[in-house]
Symmetry: C2
Subunit: 214 residues, 2 copies
């Protein structure tokens, strides 16, 4: 079976899940935490080499403050939960903004956890324009110099993006690393994650003809 090296995770549908379960919208995020750990463990068993979670974005921070506080808290918890795993963890996002949770500053340098293993990235207060806007080198015109000038330069090309919650869009997720990614959409909401979702996505990916634009 052909496995993707790097999987991007868009864990959408937390608020809709809360509504469906007669809760206030902002209550949904914490129910996605266990989904994140379950997914990690499943990817670890399969030997996936790199995993990137779409935590929250600078766009998301414009939502009502009760929601903003709830998803920020959930992301902080998620990173701390993952910190107990075997992985090489990095939090990537705009730290020059009050929206970036201070508790996560120590994680913005890649850290080998436990026995190391999977490269694990977590996007927190990430913005595509922030990512593209670094531009230290003013004359980058080839692929490798564009990538090395991203704020997310330590995140590799994404092979497979899985999005929960039925929407078929990237919502600003790593525009450069996603240029050749295959997208798989799961209609269930993120808190309803099951290992079978991942297995369906991998089964589908296994049958894709990967050409990298060629």
């Amino acid at each position: 079976m052909k496995l993707p090296n790097h999987i991007g995770i868009i864990p959408d549908g937390n608020r809709r899940w809360a509504c469906k379960n007669n809760m206030e919208k902002e209550k949904g995020y914490e129910f996605g935490l266990i989904s994140g750990i379950k997914l990690f463990k499943c990817c670890e068993k399969l030997g996936i080499k790199e995993l990137t979670y779409y935590g929250f974005t600078t766009d998301n921070t414009k939502r009502p403050s009760i929601q903003r506080k709830a998803f920020t808290k959930a992301c902080v918890k998620a990173v701390k939960m993952l910190f107990k795993e075997n992985a090489s963890l990095l939090v990537v996002g705009n730290t020059n903004s009050p929206m970036f949770p201070k508790e996560l500053l120590p994680y913005t340098v890649r850290k080998r956890l436990g026995n190391g293993g999977m490269k694990l990235n977590f996007l927190v207060n990430y913005g595509w324009e922030w990512d593209l806007g670094k531009s230290v080198d003013c004359h980058f015109t080839n692929r490798s110099s564009i990538i090395s000038n991203l704020n997310s330069h330590d995140i590799s090309r994404v092979d497979l993006i899985i999005r929960w919650g039925g929407r078929r869009r990237l919502s600003g997720f790593l525009p450069v690393q996603s240029v050749y990614s295959d997208f798989y959409i799961i209609d269930d909401y993120w808190p309803d994650f099951k290992n079978e979702h991942l297995m369906q996505a991998l089964e589908w990916y296994n049958h894709q003809d990967i050409t990298l634009g060629g």
Copy 2:
């Protein structure tokens, strides 16, 4: 009905269509020409404001030369066919390369055709790294300055991307303008285009909750 302002078209599956019809792979492209005109006329009737066709990419030019010549010829023909319509036409791509067909150089300045109307963009020898690599302004860090520094700066944000041929990926299509786009995939190959494909995509789009990342 909520219509997208700008539709991006990924007309994939020409070679697979040719194989299915017992032809050599490179024969497929010319059968997609009529699809392009049919689609244009349908969008025009609906009042779509902007349309971008993914002609061919710098990645594509690495294919066998018989295929490269065939898709280049088809793109030249397509642009000349569209030139007879009412639109404001621009060809966007890397002209500093022998792969860019010289016949299309006059079209790299936007031209009002007939009674004008739809903004019509055609990507020819387009590469995402070429697009992102312009970077005249060295210190762009906000959305509008990133967009104005693209080589494709005259192409607007894409609302809906329709891809024929079943693959679920962008293959380098306008990474910045696509950050918030909704994707609709049609399994049929591009030469089998029918107006109903477009109508299905628009019907689906009409039910999407457009948040622009919020």
